[in-house]
Symmetry: C2
Subunit: 148 residues, 2 copies
DNA sequence: AAAATACCTTAGTAAAATTGTCAAGTATTA
DNA sequence: TAATACTTGACAATTTTACTAAGGTATTTT
């Protein structure tokens, strides 16, 4: 249950690939597609959304490709998934576009809302930098080093 | 993103209805269906799964219905959703039945695994009792009262 | 200038998952 | 023994996902 769509997964991995090239040359879409074994055409749709969201910029022409708009440590997984799939909304009544039908006495409303907030809070703490360095929990790691 | 299926939502609400009658008479399926505006036939499938999972028992004959197998405080949301939809598996590579294809260097593996664990940890802390009393965060509430 | 490279956009579509319905039962008790 | 209530399996409608296809635009190197 609660599975993330492949689009979201591809998006995060694509952002990771672009982040790897941060500071160097732009990363061409073809290269990303090969690494992920996804078609260029499909990846284009995904990167297009991320571009419209301002997370990446594109450089046209030979030698072109995609570049991060911000530093890797300033791009959270939450931001990426938000752009691709909208906000976390465990139930439709929590979706800003749909809204709750049965207003009266929705006992589970708070449950799903809380869960959604927990999830997003976690995803906001993880950035591309964390993926690059392999340290998922920055603060936890620092604490460990201090106490060691 | 990360939406829970209606089956899961109905299941939790149905368990809530059954929990409300805990200690009294069994709750007939017809009553649950009316409260939730779902067909009896569909609800039957859901309750059947929950019954096979040992979360509820059924009482046949006139005056019969469904009863909780355990006390409300011993039934977590995690247990309910697990029975209906299997374990939390953000990606297919984390699904026990599918497994990971690209074994080498899956940078996002830990990310999705950690997220899944966070989610399940939260859902294990919330029980039907919490829904009944309206106190989602038992411990947090107690702390607040103490410090007040 | 023109050819090559690479991004950009929209429309459509096949497969899979979801969300149910329907029919024909079986078990229990007033 | 009739009424109530649960049980099971098949299957159909709808929606979502995960793409493919096709044509276009922008930039740079030669």
């Amino acid at each position: 249950m609660l599975r993330l769509s492949r689009k979201g997964q591809y998006g995060v991995r694509a952002m990771f690939e672009i982040a790897r090239g941060h500071g160097n040359k732009p990363v061409p879409i073809k290269e990303i597609a090969e690494r992920q074994a996804v078609s260029v055409a499909y990846l284009e749709q995904i990167l297009n959304k991320l571009k419209n969201g301002g997370l990446i910029r594109s450089v046209k022409g030979p030698g072109g490709g995609y570049v991060l708009s911000k530093k890797p440590e300033d791009v959270s997984i939450s931001a990426i998934l938000n752009e691709l799939e909208g906000p976390v909304a465990i139930t439709s009544c929590l979706d800003p576009e749909e809204g709750c039908v049965r207003v009266d006495g929705c006992v589970t409303y708070m449950l799903w809302k809380s869960l959604g907030e927990k999830i997003d809070a976690f995803l906001r703490t993880v950035t591309l930098k964390n993926l690059l360095t392999g340290t998922l929990f920055k603060k936890a790691d620092k604490r460990l080093k201090k106490s060691a």
